[in-house]
Every structure is written in C-alpha cells, then in structure tokens.
Symmetry: C2
Subunit: 149 residues, 2 copies
DNA sequence: GCATATAGTTAAGCCTGCTTAACTAAAAAG
DNA sequence: CTTTTTAGTTAAGCAGGCTTAACTATATGC
C-alpha cells in the first residue's frame, strides 16, 4: 500500500537523484563543447521541435527578437545551425540544426541515455517488468496533465 | 515481460517528458527571480550540500577561484547568501544560503514538486503502489551505480 | 495602391561571467 | 623562524547576452 503523500516523497527522491545526475552531465557537456547555456538551449529546442523562425525562439525563451537574432547569428557562425529564407514568407527565416549541431546534441543525449542503460542492466527481469509498467503509467499521467493545462 | 532495450526506451521517454517539464519550470523561476544561471546553480549546490568554501565552488563548477569569489560577492550583495570566516581556518570562508536565498530555492522546488503531486493525484491506489515500488527500485539502482563509479 | 503590421537585422550601451596576474593573509613544512 | 603552499580578493580586459531604438523588407488590410 502506497498512499498519495508517500508516493509523492518517493517520486521527489527519484527526481532529485535523477535531476542532479542529469544536470551534472549536461553542464559538463555544454562546457566541453564551448557553448553557452542559451546557445545550448536553442539547439535542444531545435532538436526536439524541429526547424523554426526567429520569433519562435524569442517567444519560447522570453527574450527580445533582437536577442534571438544575435544568438542565431552566433550559432550560424559556429556552424551549429543553418539559416534559410522561409519559402512561404520571405520576411521570415527558418533555422535548423546543421549536421554538426545535430551530432553535438545527439552525442549529449546519448551520454545521458548511457546512464539509463547501466541503470537498467542493474535490474533483473521481474524488476524491469515492474519499472516499465510504472513509468508508462507516469508518462501517460504526465501527458494527460499537460493537456488539461 | 519487459526486456532491457524496451525498458531503456520507456525510461528515456519518461526522462524526456520529465526533463522538459522540469527545465521549463526552473528556467522560468530563475528568470522571474532575476538571477543568472551560474548564481542559481550555486544556490542549488548550497541547498543540497550545505555550506562550503569558495574553492569548493570553483572545483564543482570548473571555474577559476577568482570567478567563484566574484560570483559569491554578487550573491552576498543580493542578500542571497552569507559569507563568514571559517573558524577552523582563517584563510577560508564559509558561504551558506541566507533566509532569503533559502526561501527562493525552496519555493522553486515546491513548484516543481507541485507538479508531482498533481501527477500522483491522477493515479488510483493500485497504480500508486506499482509506481512507488518501481521508483524505489530505480532510485536504489541509481545509488548503487553512483557508488561503483 | 497606400497604410499598417510583421519578421528580422544592426548598433549602442550595459551587465555578467570569465580569465590571468598581482596581491594579502594565514597555515603548513622544513 | 623562514619558506612554501593554500584560500581568497581585486583589477584589467574580453566575450556573451540582453535591451532599446532605428532600420529594411515583405505581407496584409482597406
């Protein structure tokens, strides 16, 4: 029997463990690649949501259009993104990850995931079944919550 | 039956969902409080690991001693940390969260946790039991992994 | 077709974060 | 007791990120 408060504590503990581990890894990766955090965040956004315009960047990160434009410019200079004209609206630009940028983000994700694989290899078959079922429940609950908000 | 690769995928999916949600919340909180990311990271470190010296900051965040000292100075100016002489070594300083800094971090954590509580409230008793047991397994596996590294 | 709104760029100016180098003060080593 | 190491501060200088304001170019509304 696991009541609501008890389960909250368990999840919080897991969150702390997991966040700490994950953040340490990411910040190391960002530092090692010589990017700044804002630059990195944009690459992540492009990786997960695909190509977008400058305005979407400034909306998403709550900065001015000018800031987003300058940030994009630096990423273009570093060869991490490509900036093209939007064929449907010649005022707009489309930015997307270059192959270099893609590699950089994917290698970071891969390293984060490697930890997960090690975690999994420490579980036996029965534990894996339980954990799998539970995380599906959580992921679904999170998706449902996202919708209602 | 959940095999290793399948479980890895499930955890990755949960990680993505959870990280995305959590990062969005934190970056909003940091922006709202007017802190910079490095300042925020130091406050988090102080919250989770307690008081420490300047050198521990520079080690942890891989910056020079000078940078850590300047960062600490700004946090003292903002009233977010307190800096005192280490009674055991008068060369060293001890920095720790002020009550203002503590409140700021705790309110951020509280907001993150609120999401967890909502998540939990979407689960029934049986699901809660399953999820609780599974996350304990994962947290323990993570702790074991941490030790061996 | 002309006025207005929208997408993005550029420049000036400020603040933060970082580095190196020079410094003070205290502890540890000999 | 002197030398060396360790902890931290300060100053100069650079780069990044941000803002506002002025600007260009395209799209939209009437």
């Amino acid at each position: 029997m696991t009541d609501q408060a008890q389960l909250s504590r368990i999840i919080r503990k897991w969150m702390d463990t997991f966040m700490h581990r994950s953040m340490r890894g990411w910040s190391h990766h960002v530092k090692a690649t010589g990017m700044s955090m804002p630059q990195f965040s944009i690459l992540m956004q492009l990786h997960y949501k695909g190509a977008c315009g400058i305005s979407e960047i400034s909306d998403r990160f709550e900065v001015s259009n000018a800031a987003a434009s300058q940030l994009a410019e630096r990423l273009v200079q570093s060869g991490l993104i490509e900036r093209t004209e939007d064929p449907d609206d010649r005022r707009a630009k489309l930015i997307k990850l270059s192959s270099k940028g893609k590699k950089l983000i994917e290698s970071g994700i891969e390293q984060r995931y490697r930890w997960v694989d090690e975690l999994v290899s420490n579980l036996n078959a029965e534990e894996r079944t339980k954990v799998g079922a539970a995380l599906i429940l959580l992921t679904e609950a999170a998706a449902k919550l996202e919708q209602t908000q």
